[in-house]
Symmetry: C2
Subunit: 260 residues, 2 copies
């Protein structure tokens, strides 16, 4: 067998998230079916670097899978894009070492969240940006974003019922800016708990509208109690922008021009 | 009766253009039905500044209509947005002088066209940008855009079978730039023939890929023969950004923040 890695972009609006389910249209299930059709091997198991939720988008999801016979990487990209529906695209693919595994090899991820704050959201933005029809105070939003940087126990920002070994994560970048009425939040970490980015945005909104002070948020984060944390923001504003693999890892993925 | 003007934004993907038809979902028809529901007066006739084609979007379409009784403008915006589907939004409305007519009062329009040239188009872009999977030469694209500036007979760029009094239009701005693999073309004129902007983009593509020289395009424009002009570009990349009314006209519409 030959192992491949691929970089995927998708519009999550019409998918029930990444992870394959018995019912429902998912990105993983769609990709596994396309690979099955391509190889004639039935469903081909695919591993993704991150399990995006329903309605969440990706510009740089990474997936790995094994094929029984070698396939030229450029031909694999074109053949898969011919078989996949238009809301998911393979941007790049490469043969990788068999030690590579999309999830286990991921050292970190970058997410971006967009939130329009104009009274009426433009219809052309409604699939890829959330809407909060209230002006937010930029200095307070930025101060809240800065709270997340560093190594913290993010238990207060995890969704209920998730079973992870540890809720400690290290955030290496967290910045928010308000431009033309749109809040753009970018965050980079060694990993994310389920709904963690959306909870982070919930914190930014609460700070920006003055419902919570920065001190309140700092205490709520330290208290590790998710009932004390503001509600998570809508899924549609969230996008998995990039997966970070080790420098020199067998699959660096595409760089630069493909990712805005 | 009281006359109103409104600024509209829509995602044209799922509309069969602006103009109401016996069958088919149109922006004008949808708006007339919503106003009919609001007033209880059956269908209320609406006039638009420009008849956008199937798949073409708007950030600043202007419409005018008469209501039997006065309606507070802010309440009109909110009530209409409550009745309209999510792919069309009223951004602003105002009571206007009865001399105002959305089409007749329009002195000019600005359109924007976006074209992605990366080998694979990002799925999140597919509804609002066209795709041409070939690198284009920026200096040649810019030189072609500059050809359109001024007063010209644009017969070569009109669609077949349109019956207008004159095909002469004055273009006051026409500029194209390539940023991160996306061509953004903005054009402003006192009026546009049917498919004229898409034909302009067809010219930019032909120049940018080297299929036509700037001299070829200049001759084809001067020759007024539409068979000599490159094919029009896809509708989905096109957006009516702004309608220009006279300085001091009774409906200036929204400014600045609402339009990116």
């Amino acid at each position: 067998v030959t192992r491949y890695a691929a970089t995927l972009a998708y519009d999550g609006t019409d998918f029930e998230g990444w992870q394959a389910q018995a019912r429902g249209r998912t990105v993983q299930g769609t990709l596994e079916a396309a690979l099955g059709t391509l190889t004639g091997a039935g469903r081909v198991p695919v591993f993704g670097a991150g399990r995006t939720d329903t309605g969440v988008h990706a510009l740089g999801q990474v997936a790995s899978f094994d094929l029984d016979r070698p396939f030229p990487a450029d031909a694999l990209v074109r053949a898969l894009n011919g078989l996949l529906p238009p809301d998911v695209r393979v941007l790049h693919a490469a043969e990788v070492d068999e030690s590579f595994h999309a999830r286990k090899s991921a050292l970190g991820k970058t997410y971006r969240y967009e939130l329009d704050t104009a009274p009426v959201q433009l219809p052309t933005r409604r699939r890829h940006a959330a809407h909060w029809a209230e002006a937010l105070d930029e200095p307070r939003v930025s101060a809240a974003a800065a709270l997340y940087v560093g190594r913290h126990d993010f238990a207060a920002l995890a969704s209920a019922g998730s079973s992870v070994k540890t809720t400690v994560r290290t955030v290496t970048r967290s910045s928010a800016r308000l431009t033309g009425g749109t809040l753009v939040f970018e965050v980079e970490a060694d990993g994310f708990l389920r709904r963690m980015v959306r909870s982070m945005v919930g914190g930014l909104i609460a700070a920006g509208r003055g419902a919570r002070s920065i001190g309140d948020l700092r205490s709520a984060l330290a208290g590790r109690d998710r009932r004390a944390w503001p509600a998570p923001a809508e899924a549609r504003g969230l996008c998995l922008v990039r997966v970070h693999n080790a420098a020199g890892a067998s699959y660096p993925g595409p760089r630069g021009p493909v990712l805005p």
